[in-house]
Symmetry: C3
């Protein structure tokens, strides 16, 4: 159960980095050879590649943030992540496999706030040098149409 709280604290810090425009911190939540994908429930169930966002190293995540900065996307919108408590599926020497529900609100410059995305993270956590990191995070969106709007990380 202490582990569950550690996962909660990790996810809270992860969400805060994104929502408070500290995007450069975002890759540091992953292992160097991580897997990060965004897909939707329908594609994931049928084993289809999502084609939306795919990265298989921390370096690719860093590139993505650099591209977002160049596009200056943050000026026009903010995100607010609300995360649930993880459901731990397994935990052993290889790491911890867990699922965590998310709801992301998007706040446009006009002030309008909408539910931008919902879904669940399907994660594999690993301890590296005593630090909890994401070896894998697949953000499975509930909606199939979130994709076209994706900008900031989920």
């Amino acid at each position: 159960m202490a582990d569950l709280l550690a996962l909660c604290a990790f996810n809270a810090a992860y969400a805060q980095a994104i929502d408070n425009d500290a995007l450069e911190q975002w890759p540091s939540f992953f292992t160097e050879d991580c897997l990060y994908r965004i897909t939707n429930a329908e594609n994931e169930r049928e084993g289809l590649p999502s084609g939306v966002v795919y990265a298989d190293s921390r370096a690719m995540l860093e590139d993505r943030i650099a591209a977002l900065r160049e596009a200056n996307i943050y000026e026009r919108q903010r995100y607010r992540h609300l995360l649930g408590i993880p459901v731990v599926e397994s935990a052993d020497a290889q790491g911890t496999v867990a699922r965590t529900p998310f709801l992301v609100a998007r706040i446009m410059h006009t002030g309008e706030t909408t539910v931008f995305a919902s879904g669940e993270y399907r994660d594999r956590f690993r301890q590296v040098g005593g630090k909890l990191l994401l070896a894998e995070r697949v953000a499975v969106c509930d909606s199939t149409v979130t994709d076209t709007l994706l900008a900031l990380p989920l």
Copy 2:
């Protein structure tokens, strides 16, 4: 406090079963002679029966799921529950009484996501054979008009 985390983990698994279309698992979160109701804050305050959803046994919950499957309701919409941390009101040999806020997003097949329901669970948990189960869950919705749209469990 360890108990609080156990309640959190229970609720997370409960929500995941519903949101990931494992509805057949849903009755297993309840005791055999459970009480499950959905009502709204106004009716509950005035002591009125809600008339929306009422079940006083796990068998009735199973019937409800079978009916939902027959209606094939899941094809047309998905739910995403975001739950807060429970507020524990009492905990003794009879069980644990707690309230937990919920927000449920509904994702239509068109992709549109809206806040479908908000409210709080008013729960009585019991340990049965070392396992935490719901002896009672009353889902008190904030809105009086949620009712007509109810399909999947809250």
Copy 3:
């Protein structure tokens, strides 16, 4: 980590008092010489005063609730707070500094539910007589236009 759970429990009780119309309890979550402000991310980043809600004592919070009761605002709307897990920035003899994301749904009398506000609490907690209290809570809204609608406490 045990402390983190205590913060979660505190915030859950705080939100419940507001959402369940026990507004008179709200000031009791603060120290007597507390600071409570509502502002938005843009003003806060530029160091501007928000001008929306400002109170520097528990007595002022009590006055605010009395005014809300007089305006009878609760008849026309309900709030539902969904709070995330706090990110603890520091914890020492002076207290605990933490940030907690919030999402607040507003339920109008017509039943319509919208995302009313999102943001984060920037808090300083203190132990007073063995009890956790807020010495400071700044509710930083993501949107600059939430302000004009503010009624119940965040």
